[in-house]
């Protein structure tokens, strides 16, 4: 009896110490992150120029659905999401299983090379892609030299090709990042499973779909949620690579929110409301992916 009481108080002591260690971090997160989020929520129900804000109810939320530019931005975000995320994740998965091969030489070199793009600065890689796809840029010169084109094609001057350039840039930048998650997930899969599959006559493709994909499901779910989240908040590529153009064909929601707050006459209430829509979309999509993807029992 005495003994267990003592143990309990020790446990209490420990948890007390634990809370003491946690408190500073919790306080910081609450003040630096949650408090502004709540403030932004209040802000999203106000409207006005700059500092002259007044309560406006749900006007901002109604307004964004009547705003053609914002609707265009929403559409663009979903185009990126639907096309880019699946391509990127499948590519990352393939690369990860290739690089997980035990007999492969210079594994470290390949892994580093593929991971390296996501260590580059967002702005500089966007600027480099912009000059690559310029009318007199490298891509056009190569295409002309190879005889595919007679004059340079203005990739960034046409809506669809500009979107493709953004998608290519995103794939280049983020595939390696997702691959690293898959690689670490693959380390938890026993190699003997593959060996026995091999003995049973499974082809590499069969063992990929039959072993790798199902066993990596939690990691795939994680990367899918992270990529969805990231794509919906896409900002740098739109701002630096295409400037949102031509005629808003590539502008993203975050880019438009930035314009509304800092480039145009500031309307922080409206900007906050649009930010909350992104939050809502991310939450809904993440929830759906959890429901669909996570079938662990």
């Amino acid at each position: 009896m005495d003994n267990s009481k003592k143990k309990l108080s020790l446990g209490q002591k420990q948890s007390l110490a634990g809370w003491a260690f946690l408190t500073p971090a919790v306080l910081f997160i609450a003040v630096m992150s949650f408090l502004p989020m709540i403030q932004a929520l209040f802000l999203s129900f106000q409207s006005g120029k700059g500092a002259n804000l007044s309560w406006a109810g749900v006007t901002n939320y109604v307004r964004m659905f009547q705003d053609p530019v914002f609707m265009q931005a929403l559409k663009n975000n979903f185009i990126y999401l639907i096309i880019q995320v699946p391509i990127m994740l499948i590519l990352a998965l393939i690369l990860a299983s290739l690089l997980n091969n035990k007999d492969l030489r210079f594994k470290g070199l390949f892994r580093t090379a593929i991971f390296l793009p996501c260590a580059t600065s967002l702005v500089s890689y966007a600027v480099i892609f912009r000059s690559l796809f310029a009318v007199d840029g490298l891509i056009n010169i190569v295409l002309i030299k190879l005889g595919f084109l007679s004059t340079g094609y203005n990739f960034l001057g046409h809506p669809n090709s500009a979107r493709i350039v953004i998608i290519l840039a995103l794939i280049w930048r983020w595939t390696g990042y997702n691959m690293v998650f898959y690689l670490s997930g693959l380390q938890n899969i026993e190699y003997s499973i593959y060996e026995s599959a091999k003995i049973d006559g499974a082809s590499p493709i069969q063992s990929f779909w039959g072993i790798t994909v199902p066993l990596l499901k939690p990691t795939i779910l994680l990367t899918a949620i992270m990529s969805t989240n990231g794509t919906l908040q896409l900002f740098d590529e739109s701002v630096n690579l295409t400037y949102g153009g031509p005629s808003n064909a590539t502008i993203t929601m975050s880019h438009y929110i930035y314009n509304v707050s800092f480039k145009y006459v500031p309307n922080f209430g409206y900007a906050a409301a649009m930010s909350y829509l992104i939050l809502f979309l991310v939450a809904v999509l993440a929830f759906l992916q959890m429901k669909v993807g996570d079938k662990r029992d």
């Binding site: 630096m32 992150s33 408090l35 502004p36 989020m37 403030q39 932004a40 802000l43 409207s47 120029k49 700059g50 500092a51 009547q66 705003d67 053609p68 530019v69 967002l122 912009r130 000059s131 310029a134 009318v135 007199d136 203005n154 960034l156 001057g157 992270m226 990231g230 908040q233 896409l234 900002f235 740098d236 295409t242 400037y243 949102g244 153009g245 031509p246 005629s247 808003n248 975050s254 929110i257 930035y258 314009n259 707050s261 800092f262 480039k263 145009y264 006459v265 500031p266 922080f268 900007a271 906050a272 930010s275 992104i278 939050l279």
Partner: protein, 438 residues
Amino acid sequence: MKKKIVSLLLAGAMVASLTACGNSGSGGQASGGKDGGAKGGNELTVWCWDPAFNIYSMNEAAKVYQKDHPDFKLNVVETPWADIQTKLTTAATSGKLDTLPDIILLQDNAFQKNVLTYPDAFKDITASGIDFTQFAKAKTAYSVVNGKNYGVPFDNGAVVACYRTDILDQAGYKVDDFKDITWSKYQQMGEEILAKTGKPLLSCQAGESDLIMMMLQSAGGSLFDKDGKPSMVGNDKLKKVMETYASLVKSGVLIEVNDWDQYVGTLTNSTVGGTINGCWIMASIQTAEDQSGKWAITNMPKLEGVDGATNYSNNGGSSWAITSVCKNPDLAYDFMAKTFAGSTSFYETILPKSGALSTYLPAAQSKVYAEPQKFFGDAPVYATITDFASKIPSNNTGVYYYEARDAVATAITNVVAGADIDAEIKTAEDTVNFAMGK
């Protein structure tokens, strides 16, 4: 991870509230007056952004003023324009104006927006003793809000048309053939030059409306009326500008590139035979030293069949504003009146090194301005430009200028791609009206 704009916004709110809580030390430093009342009496703090240009000019102005006022101290803080705008927005929205310095440099395009959105942040300097009649009228108009002066005009954005004399020569033209012409004449000669040399005459940045705005202002047109309401639908000048622009692109005389670097590249790599822009573009042109002597300037073409069309316009430029928290307004007024608004010799000092062309009209009479410039075929280009500056028609920028520019840029992109001009202008006006909350 990717940048989180949401948290950025939230962080913005945080910064505002933090500034409100702690009376930050930087505020005291920036305003220059807090750390010693007596000492602060002779000191001014300025925000501006270009070490080779406006910062240099400010420091030279301080030297001029110090000759008569040895105690005077000037503290220039290098602040990029985007930061100035963000800091101003933060200070004004949080009500902590004392974080601002005494004098800030504002882009002319953003002047009206800032004064009208944050009226408490700026001083009305109409009666400060600064003589505004000595400046080019169209330039001063950028910093006049509701009939009151809020800014001292600084650099010149007068539009010049620059031509490569060697390329014109190949097609049998001279620069004088391009003086006082119309856009259709320009296009006709441009087509001939394109056919003979394979070089377009003009390049510009796609998705930007600089050229459109220059053409529009050259005929005294604006995207807004006097009351700040959008006036695009039924604006004959705007329609004519759009037609002219689309026709130039179609003919191949005007090529669109995607960013600023490519634009400057077309000039320095001899891809095009000329350009039309604010006179500050001459600094970029002169980076191509091998082209020295091959450039010449004249005025821009004018619109046809439009009332009030001229060969003169404006693009860019900036003006000095005095903030409402300035501790020594009288000192700031006097400093401005004796340098930027009253000293020809000051402008003579800054011109050769920085190329900072003034809109201060008496400076144009100066000998330094009349000196021939080797790069531009030994022509006295600075005097020419100052003369251009005095002939520019005014326009209304209004509060929603950036919204309107973007809307027009979207419209022209679609028009070039084949859309109907009237419908696109209507859409652009709707976009601006929407932004204005109507």
